[in-house]
Assembly symmetry: C2
Homo-oligomer: 202 residues x 2
């Protein structure tokens, strides 16, 4: 079977799905969504995801799955990207919920404002920047003494947090005081089957 | 073994954990956290959760788990509250990530502003209210033809979304035009072992 992904190539949330599919060597077709021109707000798209967000994974002709980190867990199920251990699986989810609640709404939104909306004077940016550094501080404290986020091995938790952390510069953030994060980014990039995220101007 | 939970009784995120522990008949001790007076920002609390948020589940003397929905998945693992089917498990996660990204930051924050900060003129409220109704619209569309969120059975996805939806009135929201949601709230309340959430003024 072949998966169909509806996504925006330069979106970190969509890149998570592409990276997992590539590393798991699963066949897929990518359908680029023109989000900046309203394509996620059409009736056709809302049949794929009533919440109007990318990415969407089409598993078969009638089954779709949304929410990037839920898609990652689905794809990783039974593979080395998801631990077997009950506690470690919960820790993977802990980092994924941290990503969606305490990291993405700051880092990804700051990047979106700067790179897609091109509004460096947006009044939301100071709060988004402060929240980004709070999230990076939490990651640094954890990664300063660890190779990966959970169980000293590469999992979908690392994919989830790599997506926007590795383009933190595009969000106007400075990673120079985060040596643990920078070493972890290099470890993630060196994993077999790693593919880069297409640039925002691609 | 007995779990220890550090939480705020009137927080929906913390109530999720209490409800699951009660329905799974698991022994636990509840440690009330005085969040409104800075107790989540102390060094002692940051040893439990470096991200400074409740709830925290202490599994043993050295193992803690944070993020309410990750805790729900941990507790539900291998129980009737979590489906065995791979796709249904991913759908449970899809609704949980929807809850944390598209529902809680609106409904829970609007409730917090109104009930805890007591600032009904807060300038953030119009945007929080609009986002709340967008999330409720998505839920209503889904629940209009279903008994529960996933697989026509009660799961931790229902616990996750019940937590703040059932106190939507405290967020200044009107559920009268959501008959599907209201019928689902009643079904959740009728589940064996259901316990009510302590009131905001308890």
């Amino acid at each position: 079977m072949t998966y169909h992904v509806h996504g925006v190539s330069a979106s970190g949330n969509c890149y998570k799905v592409r990276l997992a599919l590539e590393q798991l060597k699963l066949p897929y077709v990518w359908h680029e969504v023109d989000m900046m021109h309203g394509a996620t707000r059409t009736d056709a798209f809302r049949k794929l995801n009533p919440n109007g967000k990318v990415p969407v994974l089409c598993i078969d002709e009638t089954t779709t799955l949304s929410e990037s980190d839920a898609i990652l867990c689905y794809l990783a199920d039974g593979t080395p990207l998801m631990p077997d251990d009950r506690l470690q699986r919960a820790q993977v989810l802990q980092w994924m919920f941290f990503e969606q609640y305490s990291h993405e709404p700051y880092v990804a939104v700051a990047r979106f404002i700067r790179q897609f909306l091109k509004q460096p004077d947006d009044p939301r940016l100071p709060e988004k920047t402060a929240g980004s550094y709070r999230a990076l501080d939490v990651m640094e404290q954890h990664l300063a003494t660890r190779s990966f986020l959970v169980g000293e091995r590469y999992t979908v938790a690392d994919i989830a947090l790599f997506a926007y952390t590795h383009v933190a510069d595009e969000a106007g953030l400075d990673l120079s005081r985060y040596p643990g994060i920078r070493a972890w980014l290099d470890r993630v990039r060196s994993q077999p089957g790693h593919v880069a995220m297409p640039g925002v101007h691609a």
